[in-house]
Symmetry: none
Subunit: 421 residues, 2 copies
């Protein structure tokens, strides 16, 4: 079964608001085997709404609309649909009672415009609104439209979400007979072109019910493996097989097969192994520490971080040798190594990571262009000797992208050291 | 002039990614008087792409498409458009040189698939990609399509953004003849309800060509003042008058009347006054340092930061008194004050800011619930005495939101101190 999602609202078209409703609805529908084949945003203009609904009904079996249900003058969805289907409205007693109750409790009088909000289109299934006032509707559009379904929901995200989960999804779960399974494969340290070459055998032998999407992000690319079929067991089995095939081909770049961030995996590994970590940053300016401390429970492994932007700070806080700075420059593997070693020994942690680089736009040179970063990881061997390794990477982005990519490289090196420890 | 924005990608239809490209493009187009009348998301299927382009070209003068330009097998946009228009491709030498250069620097060989990425549709204007590999195209679709324009851009947000600003917007600014001026009014430390009450007189006397939108974000709300008209001078004048009226009503909460972040304003003020800054963070975990160092040129004022997550680190790195920690707890104004003072004196900067709080989800108590943060600012008076002030704020969000709001409070307190110094 296919669906079109129509989001109504001038503020969406002007770009003043980001549409988070449509992706939520698409995910919810996907979980019961209904795939969105088109997402459309149109204006509050009734002709525009009617136009969007007509072409959606021509192409898909279910059409879900959000926005334009409520008390203000720019809410015209219900009327546009009424006109299109040639149907009147009836008062939904339950919805009206609920609205009246909310207003009574707020000490406000019940007016005619509130009654207006409780009106639903004839011959529709009311979708109760547990967190707001205006109810939604599920409408069988009749024989003229092949009995396709139209769903009207308010545009306020919390109301729409509660109504989708409470009524709309259960309703269509009964009508739908296919299943869909999505599994993400999260990778780090590999680009789209390389990854695509590496998993070519998987793509070539993909079973017919499974598709593969590349999800590039600022610091790499992830994969989504989606499988569809009529038996839940078969769908799960086929999806699992493809995921395993991908992992076998790209093992060293895969850090998770669930929706996890790299910092979540790093913190999880640290906590699991009862290890503590400290961070010494120059070019990343605190971002590595901030990403690690984004993870709930990170205080169980993250002890401290320093951001040593100036050379003085590198010497004073991390014990970097002034001679090393002069001989190799602040952006160099020896300085990164001394930062990591100083951080490890100064804080008493089990593992430390350091970054020094040129985020740009200024500060680059022909030998060390903008985008150069040196990352060092220091840890103690079981015998107590300090093991430090520094590497240089080269990125290609603006200042903020470079900071993100540098921090990704630092977390990745940390992850690799933990994995192979 | 009207536009359709088409976002291509199965991952958008599945709801695995939120579409932030379309609103960005809509805002940019709006600024030169082109309004988006439809935003459509379609799948990677070439027939679906062709179908979406055809109906868009029937209804609007400009059609912008993002996604599906790149090296992997799910990138099919260019081919779908080629087929639709019946045009071949030619190699764009500049784009190819750029791609080859990026791969050479990364030490990777240049393959045929890279050449493929530098191919553009015949008779199109190439849109250079300053931050990635695949170039974009602006295509006059010829007499068969009333010479309407088709714009192809990659789906990676930073690439699309740079290409819109660098080439696409200047191109269409020439073709468009009505004017629109947007001026943001950026505020900090005030919510939507309060701000709305404060500027009620402005809203009541708004000229007919001007609209006001509230843009709530994680740490507050900003305003967008939009004015449309046929004379550039009148549009500018009316827009300026409304902005000045808003600023006169909400002066103490406005930190900028341009697209500037709070950290940009703080760094700008520091550089202008030749002042240096250091940061001591607990609950914000490096985010305050990271935000300050996001600003190009921040190395001219930001010397160092420390993230003292553990109590030991607070004592060792900032000289916080163990007795203060025991008597008041780590999340307290006295500890925040000692952190800021220690940071100021230890680093020799002119001004320092410190944060200590509970980001959650764990760690809260009835006296100090999750969302509590103490922020202290320390600076030296002209006579050399240290001035420290600590304040407590209470926020209401999840861990990541709290970190952002805590960091916003720290930057705000820094900004206020600088403003009133």
């Amino acid at each position: 079964m296919n669906a079109t999602i129509i989001s109504i609202g001038d503020e969406l078209l002007k770009g003043h608001r980001i549409n988070t409703n449509a992706p939520f609805m698409a995910r919810e529908l996907g979980a019961i085997g209904i795939s969105a084949s088109r997402i459309v945003t149109c204006s509050d203009d009734p002709r525009d709404i009617a136009d969007a609904v007509l072409s959606a009904l021509a192409g898909t079996e279910v059409v879900l609309m959000t926005g334009g249900l409520g008390p203000t003058s720019d809410d015209r969805t219900r009327r546009a649909v009424q006109e299109l289907l040639g149907r009147g409205v009836v008062l939904d007693e339950d919805a009206f009672e609920r609205i009246a109750d909310i207003f009574h409790r707020g000490g406000r009088p019940v007016s005619e415009s509130m009654k207006e909000q409780a009106m639903v289109i004839e011959e529709s299934v009311t979708v109760p609104n547990p967190v707001g006032t205006a109810p939604g509707m599920i409408i069988d559009c009749g024989s003229r439209f092949d009995h396709r379904h139209l769903v009207l929901l308010p545009g306020v995200p919390v109301e729409m979400e509660a109504m989708m989960k409470g009524t709309v999804i259960p309703f269509f779960a009964q009508l739908s007979h296919s299943f869909l399974r999505h599994t993400p494969v999260m990778t780090v340290g590999i680009g789209e072109t390389q990854l695509s070459a590496m998993i070519a055998p998987v793509e070539e032998s993909l079973p017919s019910g499974t598709t593969l999407s590349y999800l590039p992000h600022t610091a790499g690319v992830s994969l989504m493996v989606s499988t569809r079929g009529s038996s839940l067991e078969e769908v799960d089995e086929e999806n699992r097989r493809v995921v395993e095939h991908i992992v076998s081909k790209a093992r060293s770049y895969v850090y998770a097969t669930s929706e996890m961030t790299l910092e979540e995996v790093v913190v999880g590994t640290l906590l699991e192994n009862k290890l503590t970590v400290a961070v010494a940053e120059s070019c990343t300016g605190g971002l590595v520490s901030s990403r690690l401390t984004d993870v709930p429970g990170s205080s169980g492994c993250f002890l401290q971080g320093v951001v040593t932007y100036s050379n003085e700070a590198k010497c004073a806080l991390l014990g970097v040798d002034r001679v090393t700075l002069e001989q190799h420059g602040a952006v160099s593997e020896p300085v990164a190594a001394e930062m990591a070693r100083g951080c490890l020994l100064g804080s008493g942690v089990d593992i430390a990571v350091a970054t020094t680089g040129i985020a740009g736009p200024g500060g680059g040179s022909p030998q060390k262009p903008v985008g150069t970063v040196c990352v060092a990881v220091a840890s103690k061997s079981p015998e107590g000797t300090v093991l430090v390794e520094a590497k240089t990477f080269s990125m290609n982005g603006d200042r903020r992208q470079n900071k993100i990519r540098f921090s990704e490289a630092a977390l990745r090196e940390l992850f690799f050291r933990l994995k192979h420890a």
